[in-house]
């Protein structure tokens, strides 16, 4: 736990934690998905994970809050060693917000209760106190006026913003985003990205799996390109996306940035 201790930002209310991943390996049966990943994220840093599907980037993200159990290597999050068998997994997860591709809002609860439920049940806040925090965070994502709507009464973009507010209501020190805009209608993607941009500006540590290259380029401090379970290339966003050095990165970006381009070389 050397370089990943909490830094309490003096200007913001966010207490950002860092992440240190060392030689992480994960297999499903004989299929090795992560082949020794090492990655550090400094407190307050925004890192985007990019790469083709099946490259292991979502698995890596899910290992950080132990939704997947890594086989080898170590993960430190804030003051926790996630890979320690004796770690209090629930206590650690309170500090780590997770946003899913499919939102995973609780359909039997309205937006406000979605944000309040874990506050009352896990943090033991009173209902009034929790609702106050929930409203604050719903307003933060621009949805204070829809607090009493149920998930099926909200658009995909609105649901995802509620999901972000739900995670923020636990006062996390790190936010994980697993392709947060991949399931959205194109016209609602912008609202979600702008919420994430604000969060980054406020100093939240963010680890984001995304295909939104524009967002990565603009918001990320660092971009990590993964392929085949390894980190192929990492560096400042402008560098990795603007002028990649590895052929695999170049090939991937060419396909992503210009999907209608027809390859007539063969």
């Amino acid at each position: 736990m050397n370089d990943v201790v909490n830094s309490s930002g003096s200007t913001s209310t966010i207490h950002a934690a860092g992440v240190a991943i060392k030689d992480l390996r994960k297999s499903y049966g004989s299929n090795e998905v992560l082949k020794g990943i090492s990655l550090d994220v400094a407190p307050g840093e925004v890192v985007c994970l990019i790469g083709p599907s099946g490259s292991g980037k979502s698995t890596l993200l899910r290992c950080v809050n132990l939704l997947e159990q890594p086989n080898q290597g170590s993960i430190h999050v804030g003051g926790f060693e996630a890979t320690d068998p004796d770690v209090d997994i629930d206590k650690m997860r309170r500090k780590v917000g997770m946003v899913f591709q499919q939102f995973n809002l609780f359909p039997h609860l309205d937006a406000k209760r979605n944000c309040s439920i874990a506050q009352t049940k896990v943090l033991k806040r009173s209902q009034a106190e929790a609702d106050k925090v929930s409203m604050h965070n719903l307003e933060r994502v621009g949805l204070g006026h829809l607090a009493d709507r149920f998930p099926d009464q909200l658009s995909g973009g609105q649901q995802q913003r509620v999901a972000i507010a739900r995670a923020l209501s636990m006062d996390p020190e790190l936010m994980l985003f697993d392709e947060p805009t991949s399931a959205l209608d194109p016209e609602t993607v912008g609202d979600v990205l702008s919420v994430m941009r604000h969060l980054a500006q406020e100093g939240m540590t963010m680890l984001v799996v995304t295909h939104e290259m524009g967002f990565a380029r603009e918001v990320a401090d660092r971009v990590v390109f993964m392929d085949g379970g390894v980190v192929v290339e990492e560096g400042p966003a402008e560098e990795v996306i603007g002028s990649p050095s590895q052929p695999r990165t170049k090939e991937f970006l060419r396909r992503v940035l210009d999907p209608t381009h027809i390859d007539i070389e063969q």
Binding site: D90, H108, I117, D152
Partner: protein
């Protein structure tokens, strides 16, 4: 003259309706109405059944069914969670229990429980307790399978989201997964109550005293005391419909509500 496919289909429907009408008419003609009137539809003599069939029969059937359902629901939930457990022993126990009690007639369970347990353990329980537990044992096997399907129908992402917010496994199940599972299984669960209502007719084997009679036993008692043949059973049967038809309508309402909210 050649018919179109649509005309042929319509003629075929008329023929089917005709056969049905002829069959019903034949049954009516063949029936010995004199005998039936005396021993099945003899409503003139059933006066003494009232108001006891309400105050005793209907009330006891409702009480027994309700108690059995409470035990069945609790046991069923426990079995469903055991069946989905990652611990193999729990899964084996649950599977064995469910297969056994779904596979043998409820009547045998009632006999075994009503006579076997007091013999085996030297205890003599209140009849209500015996009825509650024996109905619950049978109901829990059926309800477990229904609930298991409901729990599995809740998307995996729900549990992941709850755990990601720092909820322990049990808390995530209680607060997030189980409420959604119950909503999903409300229609089939209502059907389980209907089946249980009818199964409660089998507990006459436990040797009830007059004040403990449920509908069927009440009706059987009427056969021997009223001299109206099977008419008292017919009346008892009608009272089951008073319970089961509203439940059926309720299940249908739940079903259409689930269909509406499904995206």
């Amino acid at each position: 003259m050649a018919m179109t496919a649509r005309q042929r289909a319509r003629v075929s429907l008329y023929v089917q309706a005709g056969i049905f009408v002829v069959a019903v008419a034949a049954l009516i003609l063949a029936t010995d109405w004199q005998a039936i009137g005396n021993s099945v539809f003899n409503f003139a003599k059933i006066g003494p059944m009232f108001p006891g069939i309400f105050a005793t029969g209907l009330v006891n059937t409702l009480i027994y069914t309700f108690l059995g359902f409470i035990v069945g629901l609790s046991g069923g939930l426990l079995l469903a969670l055991m069946k989905l457990s990652s611990f193999p022993l729990y899964r084996w126990i649950a599977t064995g229990y469910i297969e056994f009690f779904r596979g043998i007639p409820a009547l045998l369970v009632f006999i075994a429980f009503g006579y076997g347990v007091p013999l085996a353990f030297g205890v003599s329980w209140n009849i209500t307790v015996i009825v509650m537990i024996s109905l619950g044992i049978v109901a829990s096997a059926y309800i477990a399978e229904t609930l298991r399907a409901g729990l599995q129908a809740v998307p995996k992402g729900q549990l992941e989201a709850a755990r990601s917010l720092g909820m322990p496994q049990w808390r995530a199940m209680v607060t997030i997964v189980i409420p959604q599972a119950f909503k999903i299984v409300l229609p089939p669960l209502t059907n389980e109550v209907i089946l249980l209502t009818k199964d409660s007719s089998l507990i006459y084997v436990l040797g009830l005293t007059a004040s403990q009679y449920e509908l069927t036993k009440f009706g059987r008692d009427g056969i021997s005391s009223l001299g109206a043949g099977l008419t008292p059973l017919l009346v008892a049967g009608a009272f089951y419909l008073v319970i089961t038809i509203p439940l059926s309508l309720l299940a249908r309402k739940f079903e259409s509500r689930t269909a509406r909210t499904k995206r």
